[in-house]
Amino acid sequence: MATPSAECVVGRMRTGDHLLLGYDTDEEREAVLAAFLADGLACGHRGLVLTPVEAPPDVVLGFLQRQGVDAEAELAAGRLAVMVRASTEEGLSGLDGLVREEVRRAVADGFLGLRFCMEALHAHASSALKTLHDSEILLDPVFQTLPVLGICQYDRRVFDERDLAPFDLLHHGRAVVDHVWQDELLSITRTFEPPGLALAGEVDDSNVTAVARALRAENARAARRAQRTHRTRLDLRGLTFIDVCALRMLVFTALGLYASGGGLVLDGTASHVRRVMRVTGWDRVPGLDLERGQGA
């Protein structure tokens, strides 16, 4: 298998970055784009959303509204803009010219730069993929000269990795969602397929509060998803250490979720962590589901 393209968390993107976002779920796409556009507002950039289908701008930007951005006000002030641009042969021709023009206009309007994102559509014909490919080739030089950052969105439910590989070469890397938390011991990241959190590193007295906070936010998202009973999922495959205090917090969280019909799933718990849970009886607490990690 080819080495995957370099990952860049969206919060670390810089002017000139032209990244590919391969997403598995709408939640993942929205999480990355919302951060990308909200960061742009904070940086004095104009945000431009190229949408493949005709729809009212406030509908297109509904996901920003849900993330706490007043999209309507930002649209009215010209800080956000929505354009219809399908990635058909017709829509893609001259895309580089369009972006050049939009950057100039944003700067003329007093912005420090332009952030744009565009959804790539899969037309099941090799000629369409070739057009998409050509337009990405033409687009890349734009990033080297102008104050612009861009994310090209590819839905992995329609583009498989074979389709995406050639496009990786035309981008500076892959955009991924920001870490929820990162310190020298631990990183907490949202996962989307399946949805939840991934913990990597060590949890102890210094960062247990960060875990609790992330877990609380994830519980709220899980409740909103509410597919069947809401279960919060933690991917612990990268977790090498967790202390008794932090495990007890997970147990209490699981009991709380259980009381409201849900539960906590721990995926890929290491055998030495399982041993601690066994001697404390925590492996038998209702609402706490210890799953073996895939391949673990």
């Binding site: 147990v251 041993r275 601690v276 404390t280 925590w282 038998r284």
Partner: protein, 320 residues
Amino acid sequence: MSRTGFVHQALCYASDEEFLDGTLAFVRDGLAAGDAVLSVVQTRNIALLRDALRGEADADAVEFVDAKEWYGFPARTLGQYHAYCTRHEDGGARRVRVIGEPLWTGRTAFETREWMRYESLLNVAFADSGHWILCPYDTRVLPAAVVRTAARTHPELARGPRGWVPSGGYAPPDAFYAECDEALGPPERVRPERELRFGRGRSAAVRSAAAGYARRCGLPQERAHDLVAAVHEAALNAVRFGGGEGLLRLWCEPGYVVCEVSDTGRARSAAGDPPSFPGHLPPEPRGSGGHGLWVVRQLSDLVTERMRADGSVLRMRFSR
């Protein structure tokens, strides 16, 4: 025979016949009452019991475990019994009967004393249960001191089928515990190979020192994980109750890697007396505390502690 509440008896036997006399009725009564019956005895005694029960109704329901596999280290054995009872007691509705014959041969004086302490601790750990533990002592081979002490750690002595007498010399567990500590003496002076002073928020450095030392001593990966987890919990306790800082010392002694965590106890004296039987009693899974020291004992092989107002010393041993 039917009794209520926790029963803990020693059965001193000097022949196969006496062993069977004391245990068969116990097993049969248990099966008849629908109790869970677990028999953890020497290999040859498993054979004796199996033969004697052959063909009897429900005899298959008796679970046999070889004592060699069960009696590794006292705190973990207590944890295993607790876990076994939790699994089989149906939320407290069912009695668990155990024939438990610890191994006494091949132990050092220190290990033997910790096993005696364990026998006494059973009286506290299971006090609120309705279980029945019968502990056979083979007087033909066991040292006289071990047999004598059985009368001090067991409230009752079993006599033949269904018979028993109160053991005259029974020592209350807290008194016996203090006596074991007394015999242990103050922590002997050592010259550690590695030393680390730590304060609040430094547990990662403590773990890293412990992990490095475990690796150097060649502990298997899984035991190294256990050592790190035990040392971490001990260090947190030291910081929390011991005045905000502590000292980690690491060294080896014959058969064991030793990790010592000590503190000067300033906060503990303010917080009141140290707990009795610290970490020896199974904590409630849904409780808000008491898991730290329990985990320390369950993950270590042997733990000794001295907890005083002027400081605590916790020594965790891991066999190598």
